[in-house]
């Protein structure tokens, strides 16, 4: 009995100590890239980041930032915010590339905004750990391009045993695709660009009608009848609005898009497809994030004028088909033109099964982006475009304790990621 009690005490102490150790961490680096916006130091030489209970509580020069007693101290040459992968499919498209682990694209219908990414996200897929080991701590993942509306995306941390533990934003965007990737053959729709836009407009108009009826029902009005509607009673036998509350997951989701609550993430690569997206945006007043954007450099002025941010394809994507005109300098050209840009890992259908935004940003840094701009494209800019910059993307007090550690310039080929911290927990210490 005494032995058991003693054991329990030891176990509890160990657990408490474990939690304490996990959550109380200091990172000291010869160079800290805070990625903080104006007003705070962007780069701190010999800097210290103090993380308490998962949140950053202090960032500053070692000389003036005390390290609390009992905190675990990690040291490295360079510390950056945990990287934010602005658009991938890891965890939804798994490492094996077999039917059982590929949930990024449901092909039964071209329009399925009701498909939730969190119902498909596998936080235990090895690709998630792979990304994490290079410093990626926040991942925007979910349904892939390839159908007109393929489903939802979610934002997760690359730690956690379940989607619930990992999730930051359950429904981050609704993913749409215009252009050849969404094209069907034979008698299936959509078979042309014009049909794609017609179908999208039709869906959005139907959703606005759904909203109108739902709101009317909520107000207790009889469902108003369109002038050209057939003469059927607007109320049922009890005088209640006919079927106003019948839920449609599809319409509910599109209603949130119409309300601007959730952005439409539209994959488009050719300049003409990008123009189609902007036309759709103007008609419905949508919040649009442009995804991939191989020819976005041809549309930079229009994108800036419309205030549309670009989650750019991986810099090392392959040049063929609608990607044939992609450029290693697109990120730089867009930045120059005043367009907000983040860089994504994208979807890969073969080998390698995922890309790593650290490497993709590195190539952009070697092709026109400054170091700071390239790092921003996978940290603070990505976080802002995705609407999660209150939690991630920079090293500032109050934000999540997500940090990536490197033994040199993070973009250099021969530098290693030497540690990763997510919400104060050291989640990776492999040298990779």
């Amino acid at each position: 009995m005494r032995t058991t009690s003693a054991l329990i005490v030891v176990l509890l102490a160990a657990l408490a100590a474990g939690r304490e150790a996990a959550a109380q961490v200091v990172i000291r680096a010869a160079r800290v890239h805070t990625m903080a916006r104006e007003g705070r130091a962007a780069v701190i030489e010999d800097g210290v980041i103090v993380i308490r209970d998962g949140k950053i509580v202090a960032v500053g020069p070692a000389a003036s930032t005390p390290i609390p007693d009992g905190f675990r101290v990690l040291e490295a040459a360079v510390a950056t915010p945990g990287l934010v992968d602005a658009r991938g499919t890891a965890g939804v498209s798994g490492i094996f590339n077999q039917a059982h682990d590929q949930d990024q694209l449901e092909r039964s219908s071209p329009v399925q905004p009701e498909l939730r990414a969190i119902d498909a996200y596998n936080p235990n897929d090895p690709l998630v750990a792979w990304l994490r080991s290079y410093g990626v701590t926040t991942l925007h993942t979910g349904h892939a391009p390839g159908e007109l509306i393929s489903g939802q995306t979610c934002i997760v941390k690359t730690a956690g045993r379940t989607a619930e533990e990992a999730v930051v934003v359950e429904t981050a965007t609704v993913a749409a695709t215009v252009g050849p990737w969404a094209q069907k053959g034979g008698k299936e729709s959509p078979g042309t660009r014009a049909k794609m836009i017609a179908m999208l407009r039709d869906e959005l108009i139907k959703a606005s009608e759904y909203v109108r009826k739902r709101d009317a029902a909520a107000r207790g009005d009889a469902a108003p009848r369109p002038a050209d509607a057939e003469a059927e009673p607007a109320t049922d036998a009890d005088g209640k609005p006919k079927d106003p509350a019948a839920r449609s997951l599809r319409s509910e989701m599109l209603a949130r898009v119409l309300a601007g609550e959730v952005p439409l993430l539209v994959t488009a690569n050719r300049a003409q497809d990008i123009a189609n997206v902007l036309r759709l945006k103007r008609e419905f007043g949508l919040r649009i994030i442009l995804d991939s954007g191989a020819e976005a450099y041809l549309m930079a002025d229009e994108l800036r004028a419309e205030g549309v941010a670009v989650v750019l394809h991986p810099t090392m994507f392959r040049m063929f088909g609608e990607m044939e005109n992609m450029s290693l300098e697109t990120a730089s050209i867009l930045r120059e033109a005043g367009v907000r840009v983040a860089i994504q890992s994208g979807y890969e259908s073969y080998v390698p099964k995922t890309r790593v935004v650290l490497f993709e940003a590195a190539i952009a840094a070697a092709n026109g982006l400054s170091f700071e701009q390239a790092l921003a494209a996978i940290t603070i800019d990505a976080a802002e475009i995705l609407g999660v910059s209150s939690r991630v993307g920079s090293l500032e007090p109050g934000k999540d304790g997500d940090v990536a550690l490197y033994d040199g310039d993070p973009f250099e080929y021969t530098t290693h990621c030497v540690g990763v911290v997510i919400e104060g927990v050291v989640v990776s210490e492999v040298r990779r």
């Binding site: 392959r318 040049m319 609608e322 890969e348 092709n367």
Partner: protein, 455 residues
């Protein structure tokens, strides 16, 4: 008389052709070119902090410290200060030029030649020189046990495939034989559906080729050409592998598949290079003991197919330390020819030595194509294939500034059209989907249509 004139004319043509071949490189200038005061990485021999490279007539005539090697009078001088000069890169496994070999009719088609398949005007060729590649092994895919005869190509300015061929001493254009095992070549009959069946199909055909070769050799030894077997293009190509004059380039990933290649190699005695070798780290000692070289692919994540799920980025270093001759390849479209230097740099990141990685981009690959005496290092007498870099070869910020093949500049980043292909942009690419490494629907890249569906 008339006959003699014609004979004389033919002789002169032949002599001119022979002289042309002997002189080597087509468009090579007679005047020398000297790159002066560059950091030179000759691969064979120590790095030269401030050196001069002199080329003439398509060949290297001198390389050494600038104190010892002077630019000849009248030479075109290129200021190499701040630059790095190293041999042109050798890619042991590429799929550029829309190359496509065997069709769906049979799993073993060694009769099919890539010389009859490649479009040298494909933008992939422009990207290859933009990446500093000067010698390539252009191969068909891995959807067959054998998908055909590969072409060793020099990235000379080209109007047709003939312009890029590399001739052997006997005047024949050089190439290997592509083979594959594992899951890619599996399929419905007549393809094998299992590893055992596929190995049996290969052994069966190689035994036929042994017999073919035996009859052919006997007829030749006996001076009885009428007893030689009728020509069989496929068996002829395999017989060349049995003779040792054609190297087998074997796609293989999993450790057990690698061991199967070594088993067949012991049985038939062919010369083979193992390609991709995702799980070579598990059997590095066995590969070393077999004395078989490896050409490694470096990709940014494991997976994408079951066989690559246990791929290790550390393979290059592990093979190097085990004593295996190791090179890299782009497998372009799997990785981009413009970023071939990156493959080696990433291997260094994962534990390979810098020297080993540099050699793996150049001389080791050259040796795997039987071209080690002609390309892959900066040594007098070798082909004048070199690249000028803006900085260290393993820095992400370094650009390939110029690429030279046999004394001719084939890429110059300061020229707008060359830069377009180096960087990309409107008009740089190819609207066509590239030929894939594996037929059968699984292994297409990118997005769209059925490409999304995993098998």
């Amino acid at each position: 008389m008339l006959k003699n004139v014609r004979a004389a004319r033919q002789f002169l043509c032949l002599a001119a052709a022979a002289a042309f071949l002997a002189a080597g490189p087509a468009a090579a200038q007679e005047s020398a070119v000297a790159i002066v005061d560059a950091r030179i990485i000759p691969i064979v021999g120590d790095e030269i902090p401030r050196g001069t490279l002199v080329v003439r007539g398509g060949r290297i005539v001198a390389v050494g410290p600038s104190e010892d090697v002077a630019a000849p009078e009248g030479a075109t001088v290129i200021d190499g200060r701040g630059k790095v000069v190293m041999p042109g890169l050798v890619d042991t496994h590429s799929h550029i030029g829309g190359v496509a070999g065997a069709d769906g009719s049979a799993p073993i088609q060694p009769d099919v030649r890539m010389i009859d398949s490649i479009n040298v005007r494909d933008p992939g060729f422009r990207r290859a020189v933009a990446g500093g590649l000067t010698t390539l092994n252009i191969m068909p895919g891995s959807g067959h046990l054998s998908s055909g005869q590969t072409v060793y190509a020099k990235m000379r300015p080209a109007r047709s495939i003939e312009d890029v061929l590399i001739m052997d001493a006997a005047g024949r254009f050089m190439g290997g034989l592509k083979m594959a095992n594992g899951t890619n070549p599996m399929g419905a009959p007549p393809f094998g559906g299992t590893r055992g069946k596929n190995a049996a199909l290969v052994r069966d055909r190689f035994i036929k080729a042994q017999e073919y070769k035996r009859k052919r050799d006997k007829a030749e030894a006996d001076g009885t050409p009428d007893k030689a077997p009728g020509r069989d293009l496929g068996l002829e190509a395999i017989a060349e592998c049995l003779d040792g004059t054609r190297i087998i380039h074997h796609h293989t990933h999993r450790a057990d598949d690698i061991m199967t290649v070594l088993r067949l190699q012991r049985e038939f005695g062919f010369r083979v290079v193992l390609h991709h070798v995702s799980e070579a780290w598990k059997v590095a000692d066995e590969i070393a003991a077999a004395g078989v070289p490896c050409s490694v692919i470096v990709v940014d994540s494991p997976g994408g197919k079951l066989e690559a799920a246990e791929l290790s980025t550390e393979s290059g270093g592990i093979l190097e330390r085990a004593g295996v001759k190791t090179a890299f390849h782009t497998d372009d479209w799997i990785t981009d020819s413009r970023l071939f230097l990156r493959s080696a740099a990433m291997a260094v990141r994962a534990g390979m030595s810098r020297e080993g990685a540099l050699a793996a981009l150049t001389i080791r690959g050259a040796e795997m194509l039987d071209l080690g005496d002609r390309v892959g290092s900066l040594e007098p007498g070798k082909d004048a294939d070199f690249i000028i870099l803006g900085g260290d070869p393993f820095s992400v910020y370094t650009k390939v500034e110029q690429t030279w093949v046999e004394g001719v500049r084939v890429f110059d980043r300061s020229v707008a059209d060359d830069r377009l292909h180096a960087v990309g942009g409107y008009g740089a690419g190819d609207p066509m989907r590239p030929y894939m490494c594996c037929e059968g629907g699984e292994s297409t890249f990118g997005f769209g249509g059925k490409q999304w569906e995993a098998r």
